[in-house]
Symmetry: D2
Subunit: 339 residues, 4 copies
């Protein structure tokens, strides 16, 4: 087993358990070496049947377990900062689920710590960058054939939201995916945000402002609009149309088997992000394992985690105030230069 990358997985909930399954059964070149969860029984259940795995309730102890050469953080966001700092202290490469940390102040501390380590160690889990359709769109935009991008029209719909979802979380949890995707697709920072609030859907839990419509301005004058609707009831839909000077490109339309019955011609719509983006998660973790084994960090990093936080915070203020809010971004350290 010496050749396989030993990974400590922190967090054995829904997402953590899925990553454990992925590392064990899907991804090549890695194995689960340790798992940590405050709920030991949950951690043990997640690795049942796997050999050579140690189980911990303390995440830091998991980092020090035998065979651990890298860390995958899938614990709740408030636990990320401690885990990231501990990993950096051990110079362990990390794949950290989004959001990197709960706020931009914490994100600045993470960047500082990584700067202290003198090299990039963290990849943040913006898995859309690994989705085949997003990559195709990115390649098309970068190729320049359509000219400069002028607008991105985005749609982000969930069947329903978790019980504790707040109006702010439509921005800082859901739209944060579009924030990163827009930054990445356009190669530009977002500079201001406005959030509009149509009358809430009857399907939204009482008090939840759902749907919302967010507008982002970018440093070179593009416009990004996002419909976010987390209790739409009908499906998990993530779409993006890039409108450029010489054409437009659209991804994310439902493309499955067409079934014609008396009711008409019908195409299934994915109901869950783990279905829609299953392959993207697989590719993300495989790419991280491959890069880590080569000693590299190739994916979105701490700067991207920080920028997403800062934009989302401005978005929440825009939602609360009804005003356009400018994004206040710290200078980009040289370690994070390049796109």
């Amino acid at each position: 087993m010496g050749d396989l990358l030993g990974v400590a997985v922190l967090g054995a909930g829904h997402m953590g358990a899925d990553h454990i399954r992925r590392l064990d059964q899907v991804v090549s070149g890695a194995r689960v070496a340790a798992v940590a969860d405050p709920d030991r029984a949950r951690a043990e259940a997640a690795v049942a049947g796997l050999d050579h795995v140690t189980v911990h309730t303390d995440p830091v102890a998991a980092l020090d377990a035998p065979g651990v050469a890298a860390v995958l953080i899938a614990s709740p966001a408030p636990a990320h900062e401690e885990a990231l700092l501990a990993a950096f202290a051990r110079r362990l490469p990390v794949l950290c689920e989004k959001p990197m940390v709960p706020d931009s102040a914490g994100a600045l501390r993470i960047m500082e710590a990584e700067l202290g380590a003198g090299r990039r160690l963290a990849q943040i889990g913006f898995m859309r960058r690994y989705d085949a359709e997003y990559r195709r769109l990115k390649a098309l935009l970068d190729g320049g054939r359509l000219g400069r991008p002028l607008m991105l029209h985005c749609t982000h719909r969930n069947v329903s939201s978790p019980a504790d979802f707040t109006s702010a979380m439509l921005i800082n949890s859901s739209v944060s995916h579009e924030i990163d995707a827009a930054r990445w697709l356009l190669g530009q920072e977002l500079t201001a945000v406005t959030v509009l609030r149509p009358g809430p859907s009857a399907g939204a839990p009482g008090g939840l402002l759902d749907p919302q419509f967010a507008l982002f301005e970018t440093e070179r004058g593009a416009l990004v609009d996002v419909e976010v609707f987390v209790n739409c009831g009908f499906g998990y839909q993530v779409r993006c149309e890039a409108v450029c000077e010489a054409g437009s490109a659209r991804i994310g339309d439902e493309h499955t088997m067409v079934v014609t019955t008396r009711g008409g011609a019908r195409q299934e719509v994915a109901q869950d992000y783990l279905v829609r983006f299953a392959a993207a998660y697989d590719r993300e973790v495989q790419a991280w394992v491959d890069a880590t084994r080569r000693g590299e960090v190739t994916g979105p990093g701490a700067w991207d985690g920080y920028a997403a936080s800062a934009v989302a915070e401005a978005g929440v203020r825009a939602l609360e105030t009804g005003q356009r809010v400018a994004v206040d971004l710290a200078p980009r350290p040289a370690l994070y230069a390049g796109r």
Copy 2:
């Protein structure tokens, strides 16, 4: 009213009544001058509210009614021959619903009579030639950009068939549309036909061989296959894919509003040919009125009616014998030269 083309409509059933409505309310430049139906009450009902129309039970009397300058035959097929001959005798231009007459022997008599009149007078109601999608496909094929057509894959489905529909009628009533469309699209005669019979659908009335799969060979080596399924239960679907040396083109996919609900993304499918081809019928009759007022015949003629009959007869023999049957076509008279 002197400027309007006065039309005698023969037959006031489903199709006749629809044409009367069309001439009155949709088409420009024409008016209904006379109507004939053995059932006088039905004829009167079909023209209720229209002025200057005479009502007849004898179709020939309708041809001689005041103001009649052209004839639209929408009576049952067995009545077509007498009506066509009477119109030719009066040198009246005719639009005759398909089939021109019930068999190819009768069709030869029609051609002979029209040859005797010395000029083309009849247009046959192959309305697909007036459908926007078919015309686009025809223009593409004629333009030559895709090279020589090698195959046509056709689908012809009805929700359900009339009570008295026979296995032979799948060929000589339903597929006759594809027979004409293929001849027109390819600019070639069909030379042989084979009909395969999958096990009948549980939805087909007892004894009806439904669906069927017909294969036509053409004089220059193209292949035309047609699925015909007249009790499919789910919709009226007419599709055609032309496979050529340098590309393929497909028409007839359902293209309507996309509605996404919990069940998935859904597009309505037309349930009836009067819906699917409503605009084609309108264009057909308008084109016939326009040409007739100019003294021309521009649409499919008696030769096309004859060829469709001859091919359909071979098809019925192929269905009955399970063998490939060659089409025996009379020589094409000079009057019908050209496409």
Copy 3:
């Protein structure tokens, strides 16, 4: 010819000539009785070959020409007010191309005059209400199956704009179509508007703010966003997605023959509104002729023309100021009650 509705067409430019052709060749039950254009030669050319038409340079003279029973106004917008008032004075039914008049103050005068006439006489040329896809969407929304509409996402793209097109015209000429369509689809007035200005496309003439992104709020809390891009270079695209509480519906995607060649699978995109909405114009004029012959007015009226003006004016102020601008709408007279 006594039975046909005699129409005076005012204006013989691009649109007027097209309407003359439509009344003569497409529409049933009407004829062109008179035409007026300051350029007599242009007026004569537009009716060449038609009988029983008088040609005028003075529009009012055309209204008084023999056989005129209705008026179609296709002259430039500044000429509409005089023509409408003259028609009202003669109690002639009118189909008036949009915009009804150049500003909302004039629109109020038109309503006042029609109120003085004591009955509705004017239909305004918002032809999208006659497009098959828009009607299907309207029927779906009215049917209530999708629940309350929350958002409309609209796209309005032209290949290129006329030479004299200004930044304000993106709102008051192009988006005015969406303003009417949104009012009609939702059955609600628009109450406020914000216009965002992405960096202009390199394809836009110098100084033209193109594209723009307009946001409309409605009286019952729905949100309508419109991308307008009049020099997109790639096609004439008009799309609308209605997002409702229980589902979404989308119209306007390009749906034509699919041609597959080495370059991929391709669908043609309409390049011109007269192509995309050809059938809608035909249906609009036919519906107006039919209603007029019955003594009714069934289409969008002076109130709709006024409301579109008032919203568009607020939109232009929003564009100029960068601010959200409330729409100030006069009370709706009883004559215009109902949707």
Copy 4:
């Protein structure tokens, strides 16, 4: 490395090299333990950079190499029989690329040898059974919601064929995929075959009968038609429409990013089967590795390889004779009972 399944890969050509990459970089739970190719340099190149791999020119020697616990046969078809028999003798599980062996007589010998081994050891590389769309269609048909399948309409197009491709290979190499897919989707054996030959495309190499149109009858009366066109020039297209008693289902339409430019709206078409079916190959090999580690054989087996051969042989005779040819199938041994 003890936990990983050591695989001997026989054949280091295009397909073998791709499988080596897949086992090394994509698939979880396996490693390449040995490789054999008559061309030693090619074998060495295919495993460059991998550790613990032995390189052989003799395939049997590779089976006996240290660490080999399973075999993946990707050598030319004539070499398969010897390799399968040697694997069976060693009771090694095998994944064998299609065709299993070049003819049905050899296929019977393979089944006999596996029967001698007393257990199933071979999986045949019909990778379409692992394609997401095919699996969705299979699940839909098995679920019974659409009723009994009546017809399958299939399309199989390649951009161009290899230099040595013969007319018979359109059936026994290309259509063999549809033969297996139809047997699997319908759960029925194919009983007769007819092959029609439209005039060859100008794009086909001299003498090659391309395209062809094959018709298969099944034991319970369904009909399967296949257009095969291996020099279509425009793309790699694999489509299937299942027409059932209560509806139809279609897979394989091109579903990628829609790019709209002046030319129209365009979707890319895959040019190569390794692109179109990349994920299916990954899933196939992963499923084989997973089942093998559990001591099971779950995929298509020697019976399926034999049946495909027998049907393809009948197809080639049908092509050569122009006649309908019945398929002569040996009785199915109990070892291969079940679907």
